[in-house]
């Protein structure tokens, strides 16, 4: 991602951010509220049009494509606020993703639900599931297409300890399977424990990057979070 810009009216939400992500690693994207993290996600996935700059995936330029094309090219995401399809069952939530035959899709969907121990609730309406369960449905639904780049927007928010550990394990397994993971997270324990490399945004600009321990001690980062 090179020199990405996005403004809303007079507000520069993302101002010239460049990130390089390698396969098989987990990256963190942190910064105070309103620093442009979610906007950056939206620009990568095409949910919002960037003003300028480039997003390149495996040597292919994806910036400017429609969101569904970018998803088809291997970018999966979850949302800050859960976006399951409430009036579809958990299983149907996964089945809507267009991959292969119906039988193959159903087999994969059941496998993924079992992976997060929701196989018993496959025929329950997603809207009737608990918050944490919906979060898991959203997570495995995104995996249906087997994306190569996974964007997670606050995966830990509102999830209890047990569930969180399962989720974090699942993320590590994605990494081990060679996928690139970029996550936005406010819970520093999660970021420090999971991410190998962290980018810090403030006012739409990248102010620091590096391994979590190094970034945590960076003066500009401390200043951005706590003020002078």
């Amino acid at each position: 991602m090179r020199d990405l810009h996005k403004s809303f009216g007079g507000v520069r939400a993302v101002a010239g951010v460049s990130l390089t992500l390698e396969p098989g690693r987990i990256y963190g994207l942190i910064g105070p509220n309103g620093s442009g993290k979610t906007t950056l996600f939206n620009c990568i996935t095409g949910a919002e049009r960037r003003d300028s700059g480039d997003v390149v995936l495996h040597g292919r330029r994806v910036a400017g494509l429609a969101p569904h094309r970018i998803a088809q090219l291997g970018v999966g995401r979850t949302f800050q606020v859960i976006r399951v399809f409430p009036e579809l069952t958990a299983l149907e939530n996964l089945l809507v993703v267009t991959t292969g035959s119906h039988a193959a899709a159903e087999a994969r969907a059941r496998e993924l639900l079992a992976f997060v121990r929701l196989d018993g609730l496959a025929h329950e309406y997603a809207g009737n599931l608990s918050y944490g369960q919906q979060k898991l449905v959203e997570f495995v639904r995104m995996l249906m297409r087997d994306p190569s780049l996974v964007l997670l927007d606050e995966p830990a928010a509102g999830v209890n300890r047990t569930l969180l550990n399962e989720l974090l394990d699942a993320v590590r397994r994605l990494r081990d399977a060679g996928k690139t993971v970029l996550l936005v997270e406010h819970d520093m324990k999660v970021v420090m424990g999971l991410c190998e490399f962290v980018f810090v945004l403030d006012h739409g600009e990248k102010i620091a990057e590096g391994p979590p321990g190094v970034v945590q001690a960076d003066e500009r980062v401390i200043e951005a979070y706590f003020g002078r």
Partner: protein, 296 residues
């Protein structure tokens, strides 16, 4: 059983009965068609009667000016309606839900004015008379076939992954796109399907009535009736529009026969009750409670 009973009904039924059933079939087909776009994708079409009217006029003109047989003319009405849907959908389906609803309302008004304006072709405000022909029984069967066909199409769609994807647009279009679902293309397909039925039905209606005028085939009230029937029975379900059409049609006929002045009032009251107390409709409510299969 029901099918056989309906198939032999014209042999025994009274003239009034056959006409009433013909109208009921028409409402089943119209409500079912509206359900394909609005019930499934959540894009509420407030001008769906535009396709009915366009089909009616197209068929009538072909019969009057071209001497086409009515069955063929009605099919051509369906083709005209789907062509119109493609044209309108290509622009309006890019709009967000509420704006789409308003745009469709506008489309209907524009069509009505256009039809009034081109007097040479349509007869304008004076209307267009078709050559006399008694084809009530044949049209009864044609309408019945349309009602069955629209319901069959709904069944095939709702029980397929394509249907589930249409529902994701209703549930959360942003999430659908993020999963790689081409929402626009799906909406266009659903819209085309939802416009074709009313086009054909409009053509049959034109032949059955024998006389058309702009206000008789482009009334907003007809769109409202399609909506109310579908909402009452259960939007996004296979049998919801059928249940809604039968219930409300029977109610309307019975009540209309007894109390001419209160039937509008009752109809309005039903809308309020449905919207307030069971926004999912009868089948939607049952589906959520008892987790009925999507085949219902």
């Amino acid at each position: 059983m029901v099918g056989i009973a309906l198939a032999v009904y014209p042999l025994f039924g009274t003239g009034y009965g056959v006409r009433a059933m013909l109208q009921l079939f028409m409402w089943v087909a119209l409500a079912g068609s509206w359900n394909l776009i609005s019930g499934l994708t959540g894009y509420v079409s407030f001008g769906h009667v535009a396709f009915f009217g366009a089909g009616a006029y197209a068929a009538a003109i072909l019969i009057v000016k071209g001497g086409w047989p009515w069955a063929l003319a009605a099919l051509a009405g369906g083709a005209v309606a789907s062509g119109l849907a493609l044209l309108i959908g290509a622009t309006c389906l890019r709009l967000k839900g509420p704006y789409f609803a308003i745009a469709m309302l506008g489309l209907n008004e524009v069509l009505r004015v256009l039809v009034s304006y081109f007097e040479g072709l349509t007869g304008g405000g004076l209307g267009l008379s078709l050559p006399t022909l008694d084809a009530t029984v044949a049209i009864y069967y044609a309408m019945g076939a349309m009602a069955a066909l629209v319901t069959l199409v709904a069944y095939v769609i709702v029980t397929s992954r394509f249907g589930l994807r249409l529902m994701t647009i209703r549930e959360d279009e942003v999430a659908a796109e993020a999963l790689g679902i081409d929402a626009f293309r799906h909406k266009i397909y659903a819209f085309l399907l939802s416009a074709t039925g009313p086009g054909i039905v409009g053509g049959l209606f034109a032949r059955d009535q024998g006389y058309l005028e702009p206000i008789s085939v482009f009334p907003l009230a007809m769109t409202i009736t399609m909506i109310v029937m579908t909402l009452f029975g259960g939007k996004g379900t296979v049998w919801g529009p059928v249940l809604g059409a039968v219930t409300l049609f029977v109610l309307q006929e019975v009540v209309w026969a007894r109390f001419i002045y209160v039937h509008q009032l009752l109809f309005g009251a039903i809308i309020v009750v449905v919207v307030l107390f069971m926004p999912r409709g009868v089948l939607g409510l049952l589906q959520l409670k008892y987790r009925l299969p999507r085949t219902i």
